[in-house]
Symmetry: C2
Subunit: 452 residues, 2 copies
């Protein structure tokens, strides 16, 4: 289908905004990207980001516009988890089959490169341009120094809101009637910390692993950077016995790490430096609908669907939005109303599905890991999956190493849960968990299930 | 407990704002009520309100501050439903026991009187004072002609947000981290219409009834006014075969009423006048948390919990907020932080419960009334309840004619649903529904239930 070049505004120069700029430039549109923040290429990173794990969906979207290889140079493939328990040597879990890996990439490094690429393709970036209002019907955005000062008006044909979980563009849509919206915070916060490189620039932990120190209601993770360092995240409840609220002095923080993460205390010289320098951040699930306004405005990425980070799919889902949107554009040419309708109708159920999967992973991590039944169930699933890999694809693999819709992964997970609910009710399951009786029962239930 | 007089702002001069002003004046506080709209006593009503049904919770709250009797003069008790089916004479369903009734009151008439009463008690009302911003920590509100114009600052000790489902006060709280929020619109809209009085000032339908014309996915209701008229509401899907979207011409509207509501066509001279004059409005369930900010700001009524109107409890729930808040104030004196904490902790689950009950009533109305199983179930419940009134209190009665917490009413409803799920699975239930076997089975299940 023919595309008439449009004068398009993208609000937000983050990962999704930059990639969308690249896609739309390739279609011949005139692109202006507005961002209220300074050019990320000229300032230090914020110290509040979790390293990204690029998986298949993200790579697909990058490959489509020919930038997969240049971005791969910024990342490190992690083909396994490294699990660190207290007082035990670390052990490894392969993610999947040969060559299946997720890629650790620094958000800042990636974002800088993506903006470079979009600029090379001809997108115009206007940094420190604060958007305060949007006339949805006119696709006009208003920017200025302050909310109350003088505003400049920029008229466009189409506006894309790629301005994240607290989107200004969505904010404007939200004030209209019949706009469904929800934001739900979890009671766990996170803080970025850094494990520095060795003096010779090498990594202090295995470079090709996603490192996890699970501790029930809290955990610490580390992901490798090219410079030999690891970007780490401490996930910890805001309130309660062991919580951010109760870590207010240097001594308390040192004691906390010495007790629960002694191996980290050994490789970070003074863990309290980052701890008090970096902010404690909150995590939210945000859902809304509609995502579009007539043929004028559309939300893409976190502005349409923010998820908690426990599946590592936030950016991947946003990139997949663009990949799918591009396919829809190819079908409907200049009919932007149909493009936007189709886009939101097709993507919304998948966004809801990855939100649900991400939240479930958080619940598993924070409340089920100490539950004996849950541990047994996971053991049975793994045992069965090893014997019948073609009959029991882990949901994680379906989400991470596949481009099948998220809704299918959720349905797969539900079907497996249903089967396991039956299995866990079998008499003496604690003793017979690895028996043929259980194996055959699972096989039988699988044969009766519609989603497996 | 002693109360030190505070300088308190109430944002919103609606029903909840005015009643709260009366309560707080009685405790000796200095009260200023701000409202962006003109004085409702000096302008015509909006033509978009559903008449109110004051029930026990509302009366309790009015009685506590001695205004029950003056308000009762504005209302008409409705002790029964009048059901109007096409081609059948209307029939009546008593609401409850002797003297149990809900009271029809015009929102505008009630609001005017409540403002008078609050003013008599010494509350100051500042109308057409548009609140644009609130400094939560300082309890300072900013008002002005326009969002971008010059603002005046008013410093208070405490600010109450009683400014409804689209509250400005909440809007400010919502921008803080860890504020949970959701708004969910239903796909049914409503429109106000009026059945005028007879020429001699009498009512055209039975005056002491809540009139309902149920038609499956849509319905028409009428509630009496003192002047002989009825304030009516048409509930109808926004889109679909029979919908507001498809009623765009006078002929279509006339045809619609002639077909589905012939009796109304007869008593409203020209139904199309109101239909095209009055707006079509949307309905939303709004939930949020927290409701308070330290000892400075609290949300009361719809600003904290807006519900769909199908249980007639929106205003009653808001009035009960105030009644309960007053009890908490009596306990904790000047400790406003504890007062606000206790208030939100105690009220939030009840607000969620009435939201759920209201939504379920909508679902029953819009999708289950044509379901044969559902009709049979309701018939069995009614049959049993008449035989054993002490063992099967309808949830409606628990909500409407009681001051027990909404959470208990929801639990009662859930327990009854569970029992009926068993009953509906009994073989040949269609034939044995009024048999002793079923009766005994229900009695047996009740004896085993914890919530009955």
């Amino acid at each position: 289908m023919i595309q008439t070049p449009k004068n398009i505004a993208i609000v937000g120069s983050g990962l999704v905004g930059s990639l969308l700029a690249i896609y739309l430039r390739k279609l011949g549109h005139q692109i202006t990207v507005y961002d209220r923040r300074p050019d990320i290429r000229k300032v230090a990173f914020s110290g509040r980001s979790i390293n990204l794990a690029m998986s298949d969906r993200g790579w697909n979207a990058l490959r489509e516009v020919g930038v997969e290889e240049v971005i791969k140079e910024l990342g490190i493939p992690m083909d396994k988890r490294a699990i660190h328990l207290v007082g035990e040597p670390e052990y490894y879990q392969k993610y999947g089959k040969e060559k299946e890996a997720i890629w650790s990439i620094s958000r800042g490094v990636l974002n800088r490169r993506m903006i470079d690429l979009a600029e090379e393709d001809g997108a115009i970036f206007r940094f420190e341009e604060k958007v305060w209002d949007i006339d949805l019907a006119e696709a006009t955005i208003y920017t200025g120094e302050s909310d109350k000062g003088k505003w400049d008006a920029y008229k466009h044909d189409i506006v894309f809101g790629c301005d994240g979980a607290f989107s200004r563009v969505r904010h404007k849509m939200q004030r209209r009637s019949r706009f469904d919206y929800s934001q739900d915070f979890i009671d766990v916060g996170y803080k970025e910390l850094t494990i520095p490189a060795n003096e010779d620039g090498t990594h202090k932990l295995d470079k090709y692993s996603f490192h996890i120190w699970p501790r029930g209601k809290f955990m610490f993770i580390a992901m490798p950077n090219l410079d030999g360092s690891f970007t780490c995240t401490l996930f910890l409840p805001f309130e309660g016995e062991i919580s951010f609220e109760n870590l207010t002095t240097k001594d308390e923080v040192k004691e906390f790490f010495n007790t629960y993460f002694p191996s980290i205390s050994q490789i970070i010289e003074d863990v309290t430096l980052d701890f008090f320098k970096n902010p404690t951040s909150a995590m939210v699930t945000m859902k809304c609908f509609p995502w579009t306004y007539w043929n004028k405005v559309a939300l893409v990425g976190d502005s349409a669907h923010a998820v908690v980070p426990f599946y590592g799919q936030g950016m991947n889902a946003g990139f997949e939005d663009i990949y799918e949107l591009n396919k829809i554009i190819a079908k409907h040419g200049d009919d932007w109303e149909t493009i936007f309708q189709t886009y939101q109708t097709e993507r919304k159920p998948n966004a809801d599905a990855i939100a649900e999967l991400s939240y479930r992973n958080f619940m598993e991590m924070s409340s089920k890991t100490a539950d004996a039944n849950f541990i047994l169930q996971k053991k049975i699933e793994k045992h069965f999956s090893l014997k019948h890999p073609e009959k029991w694809l882990p949901v994680y693999s379906r989400v991470t190493f596949s481009d099948r819709p998220y809704v299918e992964a959720l349905a797969l997970g539900d079907a497996q849960e249903e089967i396991m609910a039956h299995i866990m009710k079998m008499p003496n399951i604690e003793e017979i968990w690895n028996s043929e009786v259980v194996e055959n029962k699972i096989l039988d239930l699988i044969s009766k299930s519609e989603n497996l």
